[in-house]
Amino acid sequence: MVMIVGLEEENKEIESNMRELARGLLKEKKVDVIIGYKKGTLPMMSQPIIIDKEEDVDKLLWNNTCYVNLAKYLVPRVAKFVDPEKGNLKVGVVAKGCVGRALIHLASENRINLDEITIIGIPCNGVINRQRIEMEIGEKEILEVTASGNNIVVKGKNFEKEFPFDEYMNELCKQCKIRSPPLVSKFPDLHVGACEEYASIVDEFDDIAEFEAKSPEEKWAYIQDALSVCTRCYACREACPMCYCNLCFVDQNKPIWFGKTTDMPDIIVYHLIRAMHMAGRCVACGACSLVCPMGIDLNFINRKLEKIVKQRFDFTSGLDPDTLPPMTDFKMEDAEEFMLEED
């Protein structure tokens, strides 16, 4: 990532632009509410916030801790932006690339109506990999985290440590090709930095090539190890903007699809099927990994999903609401090299 100024300066500029834009939107009644982030109470944390007053605009925050995918708040199950009298409220969303993609994909699944949503586009430079830093710091309390140049500075009671941001950003952010919301042309006045058009992306998926080359036994061992600490709290599911089922398959009975325990097979099956459900839908926000209380990194699975749909169906989720997602669509000439054939 080439950065002209330091992280902090860049974020500050985006933040002040964002606040001005938000202020204008609220003032001109173009939106009723704005979903954004505010400063968190813990280092490396931010809190989603919903504001409806001009005076609250200065609470809005933009920095590398803004990792929650705000699209989640627009899925009806989580929050209702409905006024008993006015009906559906006009909602503004502070949206980095993956939030924009989530919104667009959700529109293609009839979750939201893009016409009722105002996207405040932000060119994101990646979010901090909180878990990785915490784990490396280990059993010491982190009291303060700041940005300095391109480094993240972590301070505690008797220590101070710097982490190069390029390395300590979320794994998916490192691979991210869509840093600002797609469809910028639809919202020409609503991006606060340089936002690009994304007709399609080029991605070689080299980052998972090494894993893919492993033998089945090695992969299986790796997966078992990676998922072994899962407590099945389902935070990954709850933070995911695409997980909006009324009743997740793991919670169903009649039939009970799979075991609900923390036995290893049950854990793996949960993650396997969830991955299946994410194919062509994952928008690579990395929320699932960032919220995991046990710090499990699910990103490599998400990368695989992206790779499958890109290479098989030339599809990238969340670029265009009118393109049918791969599981919804089919073509006579789809590749079928995996089918069993006579010798």
Binding site: E212, W257, L272, M276, F313, P326, M327, K331, F338
Partner: protein, 150 residues
């Protein structure tokens, strides 16, 4: 080769996999029937479950078969274009492609789950492919990955 090794080898040769086969009613099930009518012999390892269309076969069924201890899974539908329900097999094909890649990504041996097409007139092909699938699974050995500790 030691005696033990020989014993072990014969043991694994004796072992016969259990394979579940989901067949669509209109082509593959009919193809399996035709293999029968034509008395084409194939290994007795498969147990057939009839479904209306390959489109009906949810990833749940395939994964459940693996967690339930079946050593292999075969899914067979109509050739593209032949679907009795117009496009059920095309919908299914995408699903299977993704599932197959994911299973392999998770470290499940590629041969555990096999997808195939067989038409109502392809009794011979059905038998040939079942033979092939049985050999593949046999080579892989028992499916222990999803076995639960009791």
């Amino acid at each position: 080769m030691t005696e033990q090794a020989i014993e072990k080898q014969t043991e694994s040769e004796k072992w016969e996999p259990k394979i579940i086969a989901f067949l669509c009613n209109w082509c593959s099930y009919a193809g399996a029937d035709l293999a029968g009518v034509s008395r084409i012999q194939y290994p007795p390892n498969i147990r057939i479950v009839r479904v209306p269309c390959s489109g009906r076969i949810n990833a749940y069924f395939i994964i459940k078969s693996l967690t339930d201890g079946w050593d292999g899974v075969v899914v067979s539908g109509c050739h593209p274009g032949d679907c009795h329900y117009i496009s059920g097999n095309l919908v299914a094909r995408r699903r299977f492609a993704i599932l197959k890649e994911l299973l392999e990504f998770f470290g499940i041996e590629p041969g555990r789950v096999n997808f195939m097409w067989a038409s109502a007139a392809e009794g011979e092909r059905f038998a040939v492919l079942i033979r092939k699938a049985t050999e593949i699974v046999k080579k892989l050995g028992p499916n222990k990955k999803f076995e639960k500790k009791w």
